[in-house]
Symmetry: C2
Subunit: 200 residues, 2 copies
C-alpha cells in the first residue's frame, strides 16, 4: 500500500473515533486525549497526523459531511430534481443519528467562530463541497423548470443553505417543535414558498 | 430603594460587565472570574447573584436581546408594518457592534446546546419574547394586507426566525459575503420570496 494511502486511512481511523466520542459523550468531550483513548493510539501518534484538536475535528466534520452527501439520492434513484434536492438537504438535519453527527460537530465550532475568524474560515472551507452540491441540484431544478423565482440560482442556493443552517439550530434548541418527523415538512414548506414545485 | 430593585440593578451591572468582556475579549473569555475583575466585584459576590456562568450569560443575553427589541422602530417612527418587521429582524443580525452582541453570546451557547438539552431549553426560553415580537409584527403585516402567502402567521413567523438564525451564522462564518451592508438586502430578498410586499 503506498504511503500516502496509508496516511489517509490512518487519519480516517482517528476521525471515526471522533465520531464515536461525539455521539457517545458530546462534542465538548472530544479532546485529543479522549479520541486517543477511543482508538487506542497515543497522544503523540495523533499529533503526528493532526496539528491540534481543531484540525482533528475539521477532518472528522469533512468526513461526516462527505458521507451524508454520498447518502443523498442519485438521479437514478430519484429522477425528480426537486425531490433529489430535498433528499440532499435533509441529510444536513438531525433526521437520524448519522445525519445529526456533522451538525453536532459544526455546532461545536459555532461556540468559537465569533471569537476566531481563522476557524470561521476553515469551517466555511469545509462547507464549500456542500454548497456546490446544493447549487448543482438547484441548477437541475431550473433546467427541469421545477422552480419559479426571480432569484438567480446562486442567490437561491445561498438562501436555502442559510435556511437549512437555521433549521439545524432550531432542531437542536427546540426538538419538541422540530422533531425528526417535522423537519422535512418544514423544509418543504420553505422550498415551496421559495418557488419550488414541491409537495408538502 | 426597595430591596428587589436593588438586587435587579446589581444584576444588570454585572451583565453589562459581561457585555464589555465579550466585546473586548470574546465569548469564551467571559468567565465568572473575568466578569468579576471587569466590574470590580469578588467571585463570591457574583455567586450571590448568579448560580453559575450559564446563569450569568443567559441574563446578559436576555438583557442584550431586550435592548435590541427596544431599538426596533415603533409604529409611530415607522408606519409601514413590513418596514417595522425588517427593522426588528436586522437587530438580531451583526449590523453594528451593539446588535452583534446577543448573536455572539448566543453562538457561545450553540457550542454546547447539542450536548446539554437543559441549556437548549433555557436559551429557547430567553428567545420567547423575541418570537412573540416577530409574531406581532407578522400579524400587523397580515392586517395591513402587506403579505400574501398560504402560510398562517405562526408558521410564517417560525420560517422567518429560522432563517434569521441561519443568516446570523452565515454572517459570522462568511463576513465577506454577508457584510453588515448586504445582510439587510439578503433578508429583504428572503421576505419578498416569502410573500411580503417588501422593497429590496
Amino acid at each position: 500500500m503506498p504511503k500516502i494511502v496509508d496516511h489517509e486511512s490512518r487519519r480516517i481511523e482517528v476521525a471515526e473515533a471522533v465520531w464515536t466520542v461525539v455521539q457517545r459523550d458530546g462534542i465538548n468531550a472530544a479532546s485529543v486525549r479522549a479520541v486517543a483513548a477511543e482508538c487506542g493510539w497515543t497522544y503523540g501518534m495523533i499529533a503526528h497526523y493532526f496539528k491540534n484538536r481543531d484540525d482533528l475535528l475539521l477532518f472528522a466534520y469533512r468526513l461526516a459531511l462527505t458521507r451524508e452527501l454520498e447518502r443523498a439520492p442519485t438521479a437514478k434513484e430519484q429522477p425528480d430534481p426537486v425531490e433529489r434536492l430535498v433528499g440532499l438537504l435533509v441529510r444536513a438535519l438531525p433526521i437520524d443519528k448519522d445525519a445529526s453527527l456533522d451538525l453536532r460537530i459544526w455546532l461545536g465550532f459555532m461556540g468559537r467562530v465569533a471569537d476566531d475568524p481563522s476557524l470561521a474560515k476553515a469551517v466555511l472551507g469545509e462547507h464549500s463541497h456542500y454548497h456546490s452540491a446544493v447549487l448543482d441540484h438547484v441548477h437541475e431544478c431550473f433546467e427541469a423548470a421545477r422552480v419559479s423565482t426571480p432569484l438567480p440560482a446562486e442567490t437561491l442556493t445561498r438562501q436555502i443553505t442559510v435556511y437549512v443552517d437555521g433549521l439545524g439550530i432550531a432542531a437542536t434548541l427546540d426538538p419538541d417543535t422540530y422533531s425528526a418527523d417535522t423537519l422535512e415538512s418544514t423544509l418543504r414548506m420553505f422550498l415551496q414558498a421559495m418557488g419550488f414545485d414541491c409537495a408538502t
